[in-house]
Amino acid sequence: MIARLTLRTLALSYLALLLVFPVGVVFVRTFAEGVGPVWEAITRPDALHALWLTLLVAAIAVAGNTIFGVICAIVLVRHDFRGKALLNAVLDLPLAVSPVVVGLALLVVYGRTSLVGGWLAEAGIRVIFSAPGIILATIFVSLPFVVREVVPVLREIGTEQEQAATTLGASAFQTFRLVTLPAIRSGVAYGVVLTTARAIGEFGAVSIISGKLAGRTETLTIYVEDRFLHFDLVGCYTASVILALIAVMTLLLTNLFKPREEY
């Protein structure tokens, strides 16, 4: 009993000191001078623009990665081909690559001095220091989540119902829309939540690719850093609290969608 209590105390103290107290302090400090300054900080044009850009980028990245994720999961589960192991391994890369390296990679491909960057510049398309670059970086870092959540679900549901649908005359697309998609819904939803959280929180890659132009290419995470470096602690903490609230919401949603057998 004493051993159990000791272990519990150790574990909970560790979590409190590393996680709960630091996050708590930021919440307390944010509202130290009341709600007025916080509201003022949120409604500043640069802050609103950062929030809007963050949501826009996340929406595009989530849409792209969800469509890709479902297609890729189907390819991985329902098809056998040479190089499948390699495809499977490459999918893990975004989790293992430093976000700074992601930013640098995009800079090398789309920078002004590169071949592709030159072509695009001639066509009038800017990738670096503008929204397309931020979107590409965000898609990169949040790429694996939907695939990884849909693959196990897809494998579990098997193919009997799909075969029945085909036998009854459904086209491939009808089978997908009426049989497969409803069955993998929970996996897709969970993957979408994880992708959204990762997309909204990305900092390192966007830090390099966005050029951090206030009111133009700053996402909310970049705005946090910008306010910190300008000694505007209220603005910095307010933006952080918005991001932290989104994170907490994600946790609640993941607990809702989490495959039940896990915990």
Binding site: R8, L12, V23, V101, F140, L143, A197, S240
Partner: protein, 278 residues
Amino acid sequence: MSHNTLDRARSIPGPTASKKQGSPLNRGVAIGYLSLIVLIPLAAVVWRSTDGGVEGFLQAISNPQALAALRLTLLASLVVVALNVVTGTLIAWVLVRDSFRGKGVVNAIIDLPFALPTIVAGLTLLALYGSESPLGLNVAYTKVSVGMALLFVTLPFVVRATQPVLLELDRGMEEASASLGASELQTFRRIILPNLLPAILSGAALGFARSIGEFGSVVLLTGNIPFETQVASVYIFGQVEGDNVTGAAAVSVLLLVISLLVLFAMSLLNRWGTRHDR
């Protein structure tokens, strides 16, 4: 966030009877998207790192400041992973074998470091352990702060890898061990730990890979002092800002190689883990 699902998904499923949906078109879309977003940019970094020839590459990675940053990154990651193995196993143990009020909440907040943006993670640590610390503890801009940031962002890996294995562990073995006269510690060391080891190590490997490339949480907290608290990703960032893209690419390639080795080690570990299941 749920690494057990990741692990389940990682083992490649075999072909099933219906291959209708896995048409070449779908395959092409999947591979094309992955190449465009991930493979081509990473290949471009590798190609760019050799802009100054092999000599330039070697020179870039043997720059004293780069070497110091790499050394700190590897050392800090190793220390953090070692700590994670202990605390992660402990937390998983408490979450599975103990019961107390509020356990569900504790279980849910384990994932907070995955959900919280890294820049916010660094800022929160700075609020509690920086110059205005309400506890009077100021570790900002020291090597301790590097470790602290990495501990924060890697917290869930070992917990989430170990928890499901511990949950499914057959209690019969422990009861047998206890009835044969083994102490609790002996039972843990000889019965439980060997069963958990593949999961613990797999979580540790993921945490290590994450630590190696971590940027957002360290950038405000550690002050980025060269030779002192500057980690590899911050060094790369500085080189990019200073327009030394080739040098940045060279160090990036080194980080990429380390990440790939860790991923490779993980796939071996997973195979070892599944072999133990049988």
